[in-house]
């Protein structure tokens, strides 16, 4: 049976997938580690949706997923939720290693901070994420793709700023994004305790359910499309 929903991306897929399955959806998840996405080598693929040059084992895994889903990773007729493009755990620690901050308030108040301009940050993000942005831009042209930004459980101002900048870049490229930090009840504060996974990094299945509920409420996932 073809799935109702595809969830593709890094470890933030987990909470969404658990919530989707718990709600009775036939949801399939393709999880590739943040390290792999961070390599910035993903390419669009005409049949399976994406591929990675010179990584045969990984490509077999992607192909197996596509076979099971009976579609590309980014099909035209099945909604796709993607936690792709951020991978902040790989991007932010090196960026901030020497005290750099692109956040004006943080840079102004932190004695040791080295401010970086928005132009530099943008260049830095593009260097590390350009292939993912291209992949998502091309996938968005045909697929019912919605990128889900990661929940901000910590309050690191550098991570918050970088994540917000990536969201802007994605939207500037015509990619639809649901950013939990833009939700009025989740903005300007860490994700509420009851929605956090014990690992301190991810949202839990309750968070995933809350996200899915908001997406359905706003008609951001059109499940009926799967049957078209």
């Amino acid at each position: 049976m073809r799935p109702d929903l595809l969830i593709v991306g890094d470890s933030h897929c987990g909470a969404l997938q658990e919530a989707a399955v718990a709600s009775g959806l036939n949801s399939k998840m393709l999880f590739l580690s943040g390290n792999l996405w961070h390599e910035n080598r993903m390419r669009p693929h005409p049949t399976q949706g994406l591929s990675v040059p010179h990584r045969p084992a990984l490509n077999r895994r992607i192909a197996a997923f596509a076979a099971e889903a009976q579609s590309s990773v980014f099909p035209k007729d099945i909604p796709v939720l993607a936690s792709i493009g951020y991978h902040l755990g790989r991007l932010v620690p090196p960026f901030a290693r020497h005290g750099h901050s692109p956040d004006p308030t943080h840079a102004a108040t932190e004695d040791a901070a080295l401010f970086t301009s928005d132009a530099f940050l943008t260049g830095y993000i593009f260097h590390h994420r350009s292939s993912l942005f291209r992949l998502l831009r091309l996938a968005s042209q045909d697929a019912r793709l919605l990128v889900i930004a990661p929940p901000m459980i910590q309050t690191d101002p550098v991570a918050l700023h970088v994540a917000a900048r990536i969201t802007r870049i994605l939207r500037d490229n015509g990619i639809a994004v649901f950013d939990p930090r833009e939700e009025p009840d989740w903005a300007d504060a860490p994700l509420p305790e009851h929605l956090r996974a014990p690992d301190g990094v991810h949202g839990n299945p309750a968070y995933g359910a809350e996200v899915l509920s908001r997406l359905f409420d706003r008609n951001l996932i059109r499940m009926a499309a799967a049957a078209e």
Binding site: A15, Q17, G89, F95, H98, A108, A112, L114, D118, G123
Partner: protein, 363 residues
């Protein structure tokens, strides 16, 4: 009648005579041009600033993995081309070229808090972007806002302070005597209207600094440097790169000679007067008659790589890194911080794997 004493010249070494020291030696035979008066620690750290020729010194120190200090490095994992486009890693902080002693003094006054960080002008470009009058080309397209320019300047000053407090030697390459100032006396890095801003004859004035003013600016700078780091040494050099253009009214060749001669004279006298100051002769190595101008590119301005190599060869030969190392603890702390970041990233990667696998399990 007693025999006359031999003249002082009778016992001088061959390097003291033009024929043996220069003419016969030839450009690659020059030797004993410079010896550091200071016994520096074996792991000595150098901060490099000044005119464009100072970039070569930064690069050579980095290439040799000597202690070149970078007070404002690019964020880790920045690709080299991006770092260069935003002028990271060129000098020991993102000051951009410091052409005059007056500029150096102003920067050090800013670091010391004697001048407010927002006092030097920020220029608004017609396209809505903003430029720092102290370093108008530091960002390829300028800054998005006045505030962003000030924040970036603040970061540069923090980086400059780190470089000064962490260095054993502050290498400063003097570039020009000619400069531009505001009506209130703020030195600019470039004439307004060339790299940013717009020129206004009523508000901007040309200055051709004289020796006394340069000496005063360098004396003030030395006091400021020693105030931040009492152990720091100041190594002065003069850029051999001629002026691109002169606003003095003289022919550019005459203006170049005037400029370089004044700088060379001031640097030499300061080194003679202050034990914590020395002069390194990069200017002489590149422009001396032995080279027959062979160390210049066809434009007779830019210095060819072999010239830079020759200069730096003399520099490294003359260094005395004979004192015990003193930066081991700092290096270990740096390495420890790097390790901590790597380990934290690895731990998070493991957490992420587990989170996703849990979801597969639930499916």
């Amino acid at each position: 009648m007693s025999k006359p004493d031999p003249t002082p010249y009778a016992t001088l070494p061959s390097r003291a005579f033009w024929r043996t020291g220069v003419a016969a030696a030839g450009v690659f035979g020059l030797s004993d041009l410079w010896t550091s008066p200071w016994a520096l620690p074996a792991d000595a750290r150098f901060a490099t600033f000044g005119s464009c020729f100072a970039q070569h010194i930064s690069r050579a120190l980095k290439a040799r993995r000597m202690g070149w200090i970078d007070g404002e490095p690019a964020p880790a994992a920045t690709p080299p081309d991006l770092a260069l486009r935003f002028n990271y890693g060129v000098f020991s902080a993102r000051t951009a070229n410091i052409y005059t002693a007056a500029q150096l003094r102003l920067l050090l006054q800013l670091v010391a808090g004697q001048v407010a960080v927002d006092a030097p002008e920020i220029w608004a470009d017609p396209d809505g972007r903003f430029r720092d009058s102290l370093r108008p080309a530091i960002e390829p397209d300028g800054f998005a806002s006045h505030d962003e320019a000030i924040l970036s300047r603040t970061a540069m000053l923090r980086g400059l302070k780190r470089a000064i407090t962490g260095a054993d030697v502050f290498v400063f390459t003097l570039g020009l005597t000619e400069g531009w100032e505001s009506a209130t006396g703020q030195p600019y890095a470039a004439c307004p209207g060339t790299l940013g801003g717009s020129f206004n004859a009523d508000q901007h004035r040309f200055v051709n600094y004289r020796a006394a003013a340069i000496r005063q600016a360098l004396d003030d700078s030395l006091v400021l440097l020693r105030g931040l780091n009492p152990d720091i040494h100041l190594l002065l050099t003069v850029s051999p790169v001629p002026l691109t253009a002169t606003a003095s009214g003289d022919h550019v060749l005459v203006a170049t000679t005037r400029s370089k001669s004044v700088l060379r004279g001031v640097a030499g006298e300061m080194a003679e007067d202050c034990p914590e100051v020395d002069y390194f002769p990069s200017y002489e190595i590149i422009t001396g008659p032995a080279t027959r101008s062979a160390f210049f590119e066809p434009n007779l301005r830019s210095v060819v790589p072999q010239g830079v190599e020759t200069v730096m060869g003399h520099f490294f030969q003359g260094l005395r890194l004979t004192a015990p190392p003193r930066h081991g603890a700092e290096a270990a702390a740096e390495a420890s911080r790097d390790r901590a970041v790597t380990e934290a990233m690895a731990a998070e990667a493991l957490v992420c794997e587990e989170a996703a696998l849990e979801a597969y399990n639930a499916s």
